[in-house]
Symmetry: C2
Amino acid sequence: MNRIQNLVEAAAYVDDLDRAEHFYRDVLGLPLLGKEAGRQVFFQVGDRAVLLLFLPESTLKGDHLPPHGARGPGHFALGIPAESLDSWRTRLSNFGVPVEHEESWPAGGHSLYFRDPAGNLVELVTPGIWNLPTGW
Amino acid sequence: MNRIQNLVEAAAYVDDLDRAEHFYRDVLGLPLLGKEAGRQVFFQVGDRAVLLLFLPESTLKGDHLPPHGARGPGHFALGIPAESLDSWRTRLSNFGVPVEHEESWPAGGHSLYFRDPAGNLVELVTPGIWNLPTGW
C-alpha cells in the first residue's frame, strides 16, 4: 500500500519577500531554512515541515521545476500549544498584527486568524480541532 | 517563548470538488475527513495534518470565517517512504496521471511532481530533502 505519511511542505505566495521574511521570522518566530532573492524564502515549522513562500511572478515561469503560483489570499494553519494562546495574542498585538477572527471548534481547539503582509490568512490553532492521533 | 509546533493545515483551491475528492481519495489514497457541498472537501494527511481543498468563489465571500481563496496553480508536498517511489510511479500511471518532473535533492530525497485535476502542482517526496529531525 502506498501510504502518504505526512504533510512536508505548504506554499503561500507573497508580493514582497523581505516583508514576508520579517513577518514569518520575527513575528511568528519560525527558523529561516533558506532563501533565493527574487524567488523564495523558506521556513521550518516544528520538527517535520516547511513553509514555502514564493513570488508567483517568478515561480509561474517555471525553471528546473514545474511552474506554479497563485494570486489571492491563501490559507494555512500552524499548531500552537493551548497554554500559549494568550501570549500569542499579546505578541501579535505588540507587532501591530490585528487578530481578524477567533474561533472555538466543536471538537476542541481554538484558532486565531490574522493576515501576513501579503494578505494570506494565517491561522494559529491549539490541539483538538481534528481529533488527530497526535493532538491536532 | 511562543513556539509554533507543527504545520496543521495546508489549503489548495480547486474548480470542481467532486473531481478533487476522487483524486485525493482514490488516486492518492488520503482518508476523507469531511466535506461541505459547494465549499470544501478535507483530507487527513498522516497522523498530524489536514489538506483543505476549497472552491475559491465560495471562500472568498467569507462567512463565519474570514475570506480567503486563490487562483492559479498552488503547490504542496506530501511525504512518502523511499521504498514506495516505484509503486507510486506505477499507481499514478495506472490512474492516468502523468509525472511532470522528477527531482533528486542535494541533501537526499527524491520528488515526483504531477497535477491534481485543478492544475495544482502536487509533490510526493521521500525523506532527506530538508534534513529535518524526523527524516524529511
